[in-house]
Subunit: 360 residues, 2 copies
């Protein structure tokens, strides 16, 4: 067995120790004589797994007591519809900050439920930076303000929390969830697909301030009613149990690493290692403005795009798969989620250097 | 490691050989150097897993070419809303046959989208049989006819396909999916949560005739638009990859067992073993009318309900967990899904016999 350094943008690399634990208890979870996959979600063994995962998540993020933590299905894309159906509460408008593909998708989906107001977007259609806050035009009747702290595809990240007054802040943290501390109390709602920093695809986390929920669109299916999900402790129907369990192990792994402050320090170091190398030579180039570069998804291009395939093939052969940029933007992308260690990033830098020596 | 005979109603027992394979390739799927949980859903390794699972499912069920097979999230409960949002197509009414808790839940959810018409329900509120077909009052303007071939909670099963003329037949096969052949061409739509006969919770299968899709409720989130999901081959967003993969292994296991005819024969035998014992003595009693008894979920009561706890505790100690009936109906329930072997059912009968000898 030879594990690779997996730079995939998601589903993504998971901590080896977590996978080893999953493997060791796959046929018999702690003497129950069954796999977690086979457990009734309403019996004690799984209830203990579920409760512990929520407690660990609350502890790591220091989630205030007036916020509900929901374990849902459908991915962040489902939330693009589910959020307005829960949070518009009779209003028609929400504000959107456009920084890349994912915030644009959220706007498109919102149109089914109301009139989106774009507070700012890059003027020339180049999503390589965050529009300066002093250019944002906030509306005065928005039900909430939606933004994407980290744009997975472009590699653009907001490193500060937007200042939007009293309007509830809604943030799609899918690709930067748990990569650093989050000031949860500054948000109305945080959501994230699990498949980057948390666990397997198929689980979606929603953290929502409880005063915002309970007033839903009449056509909202009940399994996506935040109040109903909260009241049933995310067991209104059968949850994605196995993804919940693996995510719980990842949360324990994060705690063992020192929590989110330690993750932040580690992620800042890892991304600097790669950005510093890119900036110090001329063959590779990162298109993103320096203050807005993502810790999680490092995008870069080669001076000669004709070499892209050779670069990717060589990387894969060297045990560095998953570097191909998203089809909408091209180029390369190295995703450096929590479970990617510094040795993996160093191996990538070494490969990139060697590639320029032989092919650049 | 001592595996139990797990009678849980779902999530439920899975074939041991499948779990062993999952375990063996958990850290490195076929030389990729990564777990299936870590794979991009758009790269070749996972695409091959996904495509093969769909092909095996189509082969097992002999799905006609004009039906789409969708791999979705949210469970059958989400479908209770998603189905009317896709299939009402401007109409207001659908017919419902009430046979237990799950068909009643479907009616309740439907009220958000239209006016349900109940074609029949047990007169005295006792959901212990299927109302006779000659008592059904079909409406003449129904967009579809919804029923639940197997009611997981009551243990009531329709062993024949309802005759409803040209109205599209919609069937919640969650707890009897893959337990026997299905004449797919007689249905407009079939759906099933995976967590009984197919795989881990978090995956929902929808098989739908393609002429029925594409005309949706304006508030339907796009990830639940059957046409959009079909057009993207169930990859409109990140699917529940790991559940899809495990389900694919279960499908191969079913094929290796001889397919759905073999499953049907085996399931008929297994349930007869238990029903025959129950009917041959007087301490245990099955409340369900004989022609309508489920092959999958065998419900029964003890002559003295005060012994229920002792029965369940003793069963668990004997390696027979999961026998407690659903809280809404009480009593006992033995779920005999595909992966429960005859030896497990025999062990249960032996335990029941011994319990009556010592405590009955």
């Amino acid at each position: 067995m030879s594990r690779v350094h997996n730079f995939s943008a998601g589903p993504a690399t998971l901590p080896l120790s977590v996978l080893e634990q999953v493997q060791s208890e796959l046929l018999d979870w702690r003497g129950t004589g069954m796999s977690v996959m086979e457990m009734s979600h309403r019996d004690k063994p799984f209830m203990s797994i579920a409760t512990e995962a929520e407690a660990d998540l609350r502890e790591l993020l220091d989630v205030p007591a007036n916020y509900k933590v929901l374990f849902m299905q459908g991915g962040a894309t489902a939330q693009f519809g589910v959020i307005p159906m829960n949070l518009l509460r009779g209003r028609d408008r929400a504000d959107f900050l456009l920084t890349g593909v994912w915030s644009r998708k959220a706007v498109m989906e919102f149109r089914r439920y109301g009139t989106p107001h774009v507070v700012a977007e890059p003027a020339d259609g180049r999503y390589d930076h965050v529009p300066a806050a002093d250019t944002w035009s906030l509306s005065d009747d928005a039900a909430y303000f939606h933004y994407t702290p980290n744009e997975t595809i472009e590699g653009v990240e907001l490193h500060d929390v937007p200042e939007v007054g009293t309007v509830p802040l809604v943030a799609d943290f899918s690709s930067s969830f748990l990569s650093r501390p989050i000031e949860v109390e500054r948000y109305g709602l945080i959501f994230a697909g699990a498949q980057k920093n948390l666990g397997p695809a198929g689980l979606t986390i929603v953290i929502v301030r409880e005063d915002l929920i309970g007033q839903t669109h009449p056509a909202l299916p009940s399994v996506f009613d935040y109040k109903a999900v909260a009241d049933s402790e995310s067991m209104l129907n059968t949850p994605p149990c196995f993804a919940w369990y693996v995510s719980g192990l990842v949360l324990k792994w994060i705690k063992a690493q020192g929590g989110l402050e330690a993750m932040a320090a580690r992620n800042a170091r890892k991304s600097s290692l790669l950005y510093d190398y890119i900036d110090a030579q001329s063959f590779y180039r990162c298109p993103v403005a320096r203050p807005d570069r993502s810790w999680m998804n490092v995008t870069f291009t080669l001076a000669d795009a004709a070499l892209d395939t050779a670069f990717l093939d060589g990387a894969k052969a060297a045990g560095l798969p998953g570097l191909k940029g998203h089809r909408l933007v091209g180029g390369m992308r190295a995703s450096l989620y929590n479970a990617m260690d510094a040795a993996g990033v160093q191996a990538l830098v070494d490969y990139m250097r060697e590639f320029t020596r032989t092919r650049g």
